[in-house]
Symmetry: C2
Subunit: 384 residues, 2 copies
């Protein structure tokens, strides 16, 4: 049941304007006739719509493309640069930020290292530095920001308050959205990092176009993000994907197999042990290979649970360990094939470390789209 109420004539115009914007965003600069054909309107009507949209500042004219037969057609494009979005990935060791235009085209990226045990203030000021860096790189000012979307570990409630975070103690019970709203004069969105990563892969990464996706966020901590019917699944209390809490899933302690592999040199820093084991496995070290096997044994149990419950089209392996997906994917596929009723595609992430930032940008774009395309609001005028 499509949730559209009919009504006024102006509603029709509004619908048509939105369709025009959508087409322009999707297909770049278009001529009037092309736009008319795509939207199903006649050219004269389309003309009126574009005139109105130009008036409001959503659309602008670009030079016609020369070298065509006949009179050159005017071309119009969506003014993606009338506002900017920022995506932030708050990780344990790094804070990444990216700035994009309203189309989600990334214009600048920065990274700020932080210590895992950094205080709340240090962490927040690192966020501020990361975002300011993006603004400086892209020569935009904070007043041009429309939305800032943040991905972080832990369970975040609907209002953007951190409910639970095992990894970052300072985060616990923090009103993160509130803090960020004090820092930036724009809309603030908070979401779990694994979910954003899942979204990113389903939009721009390995799972482009896939409507049902399980994203494995594997690294020193284990997480999962679900895309169901093309949308990120949050769950009723925003706690979806927390399968590692279940002992039988064998996810919680799975990374220990890699950390405690006997062939890791003694002087290796604890946070590098897993990486060392994976590298050794790739080089053929039998002890490391055995550790990886044990790790994948465990990883496969929780993964199979998700696959059997959801029957997704695809499973994407992402997160820190996905750099070693060549070592992990084979055994994982083999184990899943044994248990799963219908074997999904199992692919490595193509966005790597960028996945959370990219997902945050996508999340912000989605939010904008929601605002634009929900019934009962006229398009907003744009400041010039």
């Amino acid at each position: 049941m499509v949730d559209v109420r009919g009504g006024d004539l102006s509603r029709l115009r509004q619908l048509n304007s939105l369709t025009a914007i959508r087409e322009l965003r999707r297909a770049g600069p278009l001529t009037l006739s092309a736009l008319a054909e795509r939207t199903g309107l006649s050219r004269p009507s389309m003309k009126e719509v574009t005139a109105e949209l130009m008036e409001l500042g959503w659309v602008e004219e670009v030079p016609p493309s020369p070298g065509t037969m006949g009179r050159p057609a005017r071309r119009y494009r969506f003014r993606a640069d009338s506002g900017y979005l920022v995506g932030v990935d708050i990780g344990g060791h790094n804070i990444r930020a990216a700035l994009s235009d309203l189309d989600g085209e990334i214009l600048a990226e920065t990274r700020q290292p932080v210590l895992p045990d950094a205080s709340l203030e240090e962490r927040l000021s690192a966020i501020e530095r990361a975002v300011s860096g993006c603004l400086a790189l892209s020569r935009t000012s904070v007043s041009d920001l429309w939305t800032i979307a943040v991905g972080t570990i832990g369970v975040i409630d609907v209002e953007g308050r951190v409910i639970y975070s095992a990894a970052v103690p300072a985060w616990r019970d923090l009103d993160l959205a509130g803090k960020l709203r004090e820092m930036f004069p724009c809309q603030v969105l908070i979401e779990n990092d694994s979910r954003l990563a899942a979204m990113a892969e389903s939009r721009r990464g390995a799972a482009k176009g896939v409507r049902d996706l399980v994203f494995l966020h594997v690294g020193r901590r284990m997480g999962a993000g679900l895309v169901i019917d093309g949308k990120v699944h949050r769950g009723f209390g925003a706690a979806a994907g927390e399968i590692s809490m279940l002992p039988e899933s064998r996810w919680f302690d799975a990374p220990e197999h890699l950390n405690t592999c006997p062939s890791v040199p003694e002087d290796t820093a604890p946070e590098d042990a897993a990486g060392w084991t994976l590298a050794a496995a790739r080089a053929g070290d039998p002890v490391a290979l055995a550790a990886v096997e044990r790790y994948v044994d465990d990883l496969a149990v929780g993964t199979a649970a998700m696959v059997l419950i959801l029957d997704p089209q695809m499973v994407v392996l992402g997160g820190g360990f996905s750099r070693s997906s060549d070592v992990l994917l084979g055994p994982l596929r083999e184990r899943l094939r044994r248990t799963c009723m219908r074997m999904p595609e199992v692919l490595p992430s193509t966005l790597g470390d960028e996945c959370v930032v990219v997902g945050a940008i996508e999340y912000a774009v989605d939010h904008l789209d929601d605002q634009l395309f929900t019934p009962d609001r006229g398009p907003l005028p744009v400041t010039r």
Copy 2:
């Protein structure tokens, strides 16, 4: 992003007509002014819309309600009796059927016992008898049937072919939809029974209005149905909810604890053993109680997996064993509370044995709605 393309003026009228139909279906007979207020249209326009809908046979006038101030208003209602829907539950031991009008109001129900090892022909003819029974009870003819929706165990592909069915051997690889289309001259829909039951509970049962639901279909076989974001989740290969295939979920063998309880009398039929154990547990038999505990221990593992992965608002316990939910719910809640990050509501089914049939009817109604409310189709004229 709402999936609506603007366009023609007639599209607007169509939208308004559909909104009117929807309101009439939801709120029963309505006066013109009430309808106008609900749809947002003015009364004169509403008048024209209803006139058109009456012309097409979708709507009819009912006598005005007397005893009001002022001139009595004409009232209109959706002609739910211009067509009929049938829902069928193909179980191991019983085939149930129900007939409803286009609103999903159930008008007749029948049940046909079948033996678990009945042949394909016997089973199909039992279906025919069940449906004919409904038609006779409600004095309708098969030509008035618009849709027949069937719920059955096993995995059914998109075209209505049974891919896998552990319980009913004759079902394997059967083109069930094809067979039924030969039997009935109307649309045929096939869906997994647990999913239909989940749908039923989320529409008319314990989970009314709940958008994220895990339905436990527990009985001699274990199944699960998921409602996510208000919609039944099928999965990419229609195999969602098959958690019992995973050994670690401990679902597959869970019923054995009830079947092999030592205090079950030796002369009990195998299919009644579990029921006996549950009854004994309710009466306080300590051996039976211990068996139930072991059963719930196992049931809780797979359930916790689903809850942690999906974070649903509610878990509903349904299926054959749900008659004993007073014995099962307490221990189940206790175990879930221990493992789950956010404890969902856990309630017993309110539809009991009817759940699959009711779900099938709901499924047929939904299908009708989809056809009605998807863009680009004019309302069909109704035979009078």
